[in-house]
């Protein structure tokens, strides 16, 4: 279908002026300045398509020129299904307000319908139930560029064009299913996440009801369980009671038996006591007899032993005598050798003392000499020597200074000074002021003192001179002290003293070598004392010969004595060893004798004790039985002891007789006891008492059980009443609730299944008609943006949602796109829709200055696409300026004038 002519008259601001457009089937460009009636024209077209001529709605009334009775009229000529048609609508007129004509031959029009029918026929022709919607989509009014309000008529038409189907019934069933289960947005039987059922839904209500009932049933069942447990308890209590009763009966029987048994036991115990007594008597007699026998045996043994020990002692005494003899001989020898050693030692002591005396005399002599010479010790001498060296050195210097400066040591600083290289010395005498001054200003280098002025040098020299003189005075004092007149004399004297002292020291060393400590204090007196006090007799010739001897000879003599003493000491040691051995042997024999005597003593003591015991035993036997009479006298020392006599004593014989009698009685009673011993455990009074107690205990237990049973029975009767009916009713109710839940579950799931399968089928169809449009838009988008964008996203309403950037293949939402790109995307979408919808027959598409945000470069593409699409669809572009739409080739250009 395409418009061939649009003509309006009496329309709003146009008043009685009319506008008529004659349109080509392909590309039309309507250029008109503002206020040239473009918008009025389009408003009229919209009203013609959507509104019956009989309508009196406000929008209709508004199009009547103000303050007139003019009837707004629109006349559309169009071609559809290979025929021309004309629709004329005159609004606000009482009759004959619309006419729908079909062209016949010769340019004649045949009226096909009038009035409201005309409107319907027209809509049928353009295959739309909603003319305005259809028009909306492909008419792009100013400022509404981006929003696409897809009408059903158009989508149907596109679907028809691409061969897919719509389904009104399907839509209805889908919306019914949605109403039941809801979808992700709508409230229904399922929750938004659809993982659960929504509260208030039949499923959820049934579920909750069932849970509630199950809870109630659980409570009832718990009650029943408790009831049953109580029944079990009663049953158990009854069984227990029965068991107690049986036991009670048994115990009573037991009691009678036990009482009988106890009598037997009492008799048995009586005999047992007699037997025990007999046994005790037998045991007592046996013990006495045994003790008596044992004691006699022991006494005999002990007597034997004492005899043996006495023999031993005698033999040992002989041995002791022999050992004593040997010991005394050995000791005598030893004493003699020892006396000889002491004599030798005394003589050596005398000789040593004589030697010490000699040395002491020499030392005294030397000390006297030293005293006469004056004792110059080494330390003082070194001090003086240092002083002397100092004096000599200073003198030497002074002399050197004098040589150099011709210095004469007077305090007036006179004298001569000879400078190096000068033959004539300077005369520095007073009066020769010039020289003096010159000399004063000269710097003279003194050896060891550094550079000084002559004056300073002279001052220093003077100082040294004074010091030397003082030192020389000190030295003179020393010389005077030691009676010499010069340093060499003092030195020689010092050497002499030193030599004497060394000699004295040597002598003292010799003294130290002597074998006693206080050798330094030896004098003639002490020597005499030694001799007179010594226990050894010194022969006169020995004394005289020794006194004749020199110190050296004495030393040799001492050495000889030392040797002798050494030998004698060896001899003495040997003899002492021999004697000690003999002495030891003697002691051993003595010890042995003493030990034996000790043993003998012990045995004697034991013997005494045994006799005492024997007597005690006899006393005991006597006391044990009045028949026993005789007690023989005890023999404390064992002399004359006769075992046989003891054994044949009257008492002993009586004891034997009594013992045999007791043994016989014991054996007899023990035999009796074996015969009357009752079988089984012993029954005592305690046993009987315990049995009686347990009877009472059982009685009590039985009555306790009876009480417990009574108590439980009452409760059981109460709970039993109607518990079954309560549980039964609950179970029946649960079954009903369960079935209701099953049914609700099935219904919900079936409806969800229905919704999903319907949605899936619908979406599959949508994609069938969306795809060609998407492809077409994408193709042009790529070209226009020079591959900046590769694909366009369109939702099922054909609204552009996104564009895919080629770079990184990311998707930009329409909100992220520039206004211009969005506008172009919508423009391209409309072109594609028009192109595809026009596959079977053209449809018109109207743009009212739609591309206001498009740059010239893209505008060029847009023009190209308009031309392309105009080959299939009718395109009508309204614009206020023709600049943007300068098409190459032929197109229908209409220019409107501005209204007056």
């Amino acid at each position: 279908m395409h418009f061939k002519k649009i003509k309006i008259e009496n329309w709003a601001g146009l008043y009685d002026r009319g506008i008529e457009l004659k349109l080509a089937k392909d590309l039309n460009l309507v250029i008109g300045p503002n206020e040239s009636g473009k918008s009025t024209l389009m408003g009229a077209l919209k009203l013609a398509l959507s509104t019956k001529a009989s309508s009196r709605k406000k929008e209709v009334e508004k199009v009547q020129p103000w303050d007139t009775d003019l009837h707004p009229t629109i006349e559309l000529e169009l071609r559809a299904r290979d025929k021309d048609y004309r629709l004329t609508k005159t609004f606000l007129k009482s009759t004959g307000n619309a006419e729908f004509c079909e062209s016949v031959e010769n340019g004649e029009w045949l009226t096909v319908a009038e009035g409201d029918a005309a409107h319907s026929r027209f809509l049928e022709l353009i295959n739309s139930r909603e003319g305005e919607g259809f028009f909306n989509t492909l008419w792009v009014p100013q400022g509404k560029t981006i929003e696409i309000d897809t009408s059903k008529g158009l989508t149907d038409r596109i679907k028809q064009a691409v061969g897919t189907t719509t389904s009104d019934v399907g839509e209805k069933i889908l919306s019914y299913a949605l109403g039941v289960v809801g979808d992700e947005n709508n409230k229904g039987w399922l929750t938004k996440t659809r993982r659960n059922v929504a509260s208030g839904s039949p499923w959820n209500e049934a579920k909750e009801k069932l849970e509630e009932l199950k809870g109630e049933l659980n409570d009832l069942q718990a009650k029943r369980k408790e009831h049953q447990e109580n029944l079990e308890k009663i049953q158990n209590l009854k069984q227990e009671k029965e068991a107690f009763r049986k036991r009670l009966k048994q115990k009573k029987k037991d009691l009678i038996e036990k009482e009988e048994k106890k009598k037997e036991w009492d008799r048995f115990k009586e005999v047992k006591r007699d037997a025990q007594e007999a046994k005790a008597r037998y045991r007592g007699l046996y013990e006495n007899k045994k003790d008596w026998d044992d004691k006699l045996e022991e006494i005999e043994e002990t007597l034997e032993k004492t005899k043996e020990i006495n023999g031993e002692i005698k033999r040992l005494e002989e041995k002791r005598k022999e050992a004593a003899k040997q010991e005394s001989a050995s000791r005598e020898k030893y004493d003699r050798a020892k006396a000889e050693l002491e004599g030798l030692q005394a003589k050596r002591g005398y000789l040593e003392r004589l030697r010490a005396l000699e040395i002491n005399r020499k030392i005294d002599f030397l000390a006297e000499k030293v005293e006469k010479l004056g004792d110059i010790d080494e330390e003082s001498f070194s001090k003086w020597k240092a002083l002397k060296d100092e004096v000599d050195s200073t003198r030497k210097q002074l002399r050197a200074s004098e040589l150099k400066i011709g210095f004469r040591s007077d305090s007036n600083l006179t004298g001569q000074i000879r400078l190096d290289g000068d033959e004539e010395p300077l005369d520095l005498s007073p009066g020769n002021e010039l020289e003096r001054t010159a000399a004063k200003s000269l710097e003279i280098e003194l050896q060891d003192v550094g550079k000084f002025s002559v004056e300073t040098a002279m001052e220093r020299a003077l100082e040294a001179k004074n010091r030397v003189e003082e030192d020389e005075k000190k030295l003179d004092e020393v010389y005077e002290t030691y009676g010499v007149n010069s340093w060499p004399a003092l030195h020689a004297q010092y050497e002499k003293v030193k030599e004497k002292k060394e000699r004295m020291s040597e002598l003292r060393d010799q003294l130290g070598e002597l074998d006693y400590e206080n050798a330094t204090s030896i004098d003639e007196e002490t020597v005499r004392e030694f001799v007179s006090e010594s226990e050894v007799d010194f022969p006169g010739e020995f004394i005289n010969a020794s006194e004749e001897k020199s110190q050296a000879e004495l030393a040799d003599e001492v050495e000889r004595f030392n040797e002798k003493i050494g030998d004698q000491q060896g001899e003495v040691e040997n003899l002492k060893g021999d004697w000690k051995e003999k002495e030891g042997r003697l002691k051993d024999v003595k010890d042995e004798i003493n030990a034996k005597k000790g043993e003998l003593q012990v045995e004697n003591k034991a013997l005494e004790e045994k006799f005492n015991t024997l007597n005690n035993i006899k006393e005991r036997v006597k006391a044990a039985d009045e028949r026993f009479e005789d007690i023989p006298t005890p023999k404390q020392d064992g002399e004359g002891f006769d075992k046989e006599a003891e054994e044949s004593s009257e008492l002993y014989q009586e004891l034997m007789e009594a013992w045999r009698e007791a043994r016989r009685l014991r054996d007899e009673l023990e035999d009796d006891l074996e015969q009357i011993r009752p079988k089984g455990e012993e029954v005592t009074e305690d046993t009987i008492e315990a049995l009686k107690e347990s009877l009472d205990d059982l009685d009590k237990k039985i009555s306790d059980k009876e009480m417990d049973i009574r108590e439980l029975k009452g409760g059981v009767g109460e709970t039993a009443d109607g518990l079954h009916e309560k549980i039964r009713d609950k179970e029946e109710e649960i079954e009903r609730a369960r079935r209701k839940l099953e049914s609700a579950k099935k219904e919900t799931r079936a409806h969800e299944l229905l919704r999903l399968t319907l949605t899936e089928a619908k979406e599959r169809t949508s994609s069938e008609y969306l795809e060609p449009i998407r492809e077409k838009v994408g193709e042009r988008l790529r070209e226009m943006t020079q591959d900046r964008y590769t694909r366009a996203g369109l939702d099922s309403d054909l609204t552009p949602t996104s564009a895919v950037r080629s770079l990184r293949n990311t998707e930009a939402d329409s909100g992220d796109l520039s206004f211009g790109t969005k506008e172009q995307l919508s423009f391209l979408t409309r072109l594609a829709m028009a192109e595809i919808a026009s596959r079977n027959e053209r449809i018109p598409v109207i743009f009212d200055d739609s591309l206001v945000n498009t740059d010239p470069q893209r505008m060029e593409y847009m023009r190209k696409y308009l031309i392309e699409v105009s080959a299939k669809a009718q395109i009508i572009v309204f614009t206020c300026s023709g600049e943007d739409y300068k098409f190459d080739g032929s197109y229908n250009r209409i220019e409107l004038d501005r209204l007056p």
Binding site: T164, T165, T166, S167, D168, V169, G170, K172, I173, Y176, A177, L190, T193, R194, R195, R224, H227, N230, L231, I234, Q235, L712, K713, V716, G717, T719, A720, D721, G722, L723, H724, E725, I727, R728, D729, E731, E732, E733, E735, R736, K746, E747, R749, A750, H751, E752, L753, L754, L756, T757, L758, T759, E760, A761, K762, R764, T765
Partner: protein, 389 residues
């Protein structure tokens, strides 16, 4: 000659989950009526005594009211001596209804047997040997205790509640009663309770062990319930003569029906209406199987509505009924309706493949069930119909 009526398993206070609260109450009432019937029958047949083989009550914890009603019925409706034992539903415990006490005086002709000892029936040459259930379960025979026959013994009648070991795979703690118990104990008749259908075994020779069954049916899967047995024994060791008598008010019928086409529905209708029962006193259970179309299912629903009007109660189980729409049905609901066809085809696939395919976005853990897919299809079918398409 000894003549007595054998009954048991009255199950008074029974639980009925399927029938809804009102019917359940009516059916429970009918159980007491059945007792009135059997007592009247006992009078009419002039029996010497009545034996009831346990499970007189569904549970020991029934209400005092029910016990009172029962005792009143027993007191008022007959003076024939009746001997009652406890069963596994109402074992002899402290709450056993007949001995719970304070619930009304049992008349002298009513004997509640609670001890394992022979009971001589006065003025009749017969002794009863009762087995007593003292718990819900027991793995011992309740008549183990019965002593051998003595020369002076008259007719020896065993009365017990338990499972007779003539059938395979019986639980072993359900009061087992040996297959040859009657022979072994030299009983002239062994009156059993526990199984709700009247039952005896032809393998026993001579036949003298019988289950009387419940006097009023309790469920659909009882083959032959609603009866009591009238037993006559001329002399000890004679073969008993048995006559089965129905005393039930309601019958419970169960039928397998095949649904395929409209004709099959006619057939079902005819079959059910010609059943030898009073429909208004009959509970009907239908196990439906077959493969059929949307339209036939709708017609079957209509038939069910009709049956519900005629019978006391009707239920059906459609687990084995498969719904496969015909090509015409598919066409009628999809032709000219655009993409709806796609949805129908999807659902059809689900039905045919037993839902092996799960649609995108299916929110539940388990895949859709065949019956759900069928329901979804039926919904489309109904909606299309409503839209006049």
């Amino acid at each position: 000659m000894v003549k007595f009526l054998h009954t048991g398993d009255w199950q008074l206070g029974q639980t009925l989950k399927l029938v809804g609260p009102d019917r359940a109450e009516e059916l429970r009432k009918s159980r007491l009526e059945a007792i009135e019937n059997l007592l009247a029958l006992a009078r009419a047949e002039d029996v010497d005594f009545i034996l009831s083989a346990g499970d007189n009550f569904e549970s020991n914890q029934v209400s005092d009211g029910l016990i009172r009603k029962t005792i009143t019925t027993l007191n008022d409706c007959s003076t024939v001596p009746i001997y009652i034992i406890p069963g596994n539903h109402d074992p002899l415990m402290e709450d056993y209804p007949f001995t719970r006490g304070v619930l009304g005086q049992l008349d002298d002709h009513i004997h509640i047997l609670t001890e394992e000892e022979p009971v001589d029936v006065p003025q009749v040459n017969a002794s009863i040997y009762p087995g007593i259930c003292r718990h819900k379960k027991d793995s011992h025979s309740p008549i183990d205790w019965v002593p051998g026959r003595k020369p002076e013994d008259g007719v020896r009648v065993g009365l017990a509640h338990g499972s007779w070991q003539v059938l395979p795979e019986l639980p072993d703690d359900d009061y087992p009663i040996a297959e040859d118990a009657a022979t072994e104990k030299d009983l002239d008749y062994l009156a059993l309770g526990h199984w709700h259908s009247t039952f005896s075994s032809p393998a026993e020779s001579p036949q003298r062990t019988y289950y009387s069954g419940t006097p009023e049916p309790t469920s659909f899967n009882e083959g032959d319930s609603g009866n009591v047995l009238i037993v006559e024994i001329h002399e000890p060791k004679d073969k008993p003569q048995i006559v089965k008598q129905s005393v039930a008010k309601y019958s419970w019928a169960e039928r397998d029906v095949g649904v395929s086409d409209e004709v099959s529905l006619e057939y079902i209708r005819d079959e059910l209406l010609s059943l030898d029962v009073t429909p208004k006193k009959t509970l009907l259970n239908l196990d439906v199987s077959g493969t059929t179309s949307l339209e036939v299912v709708r017609l079957y629903d209509d038939l069910l509505d009709d049956l519900e009007d005629r019978f006391y109660f009707v239920r059906d189980d459609r687990t084995d009924l498969s719904l496969i729409p015909t090509d015409e049905e598919i066409q009628s609901i999809s032709t000219g309706k655009g993409w709806l066809k796609g949805a129908v085809e999807n659902l059809e696939t689900l039905v045919a493949d037993n839902c092996e395919y799960v649609p995108d976005g299916w929110p539940f853990d388990d895949p859709p069930k065949k019956e759900e897919a069928e329901r979804a299809l039926a919904l489309i079918y109904t909606k299309v119909d409503e839209e006049g398409g």
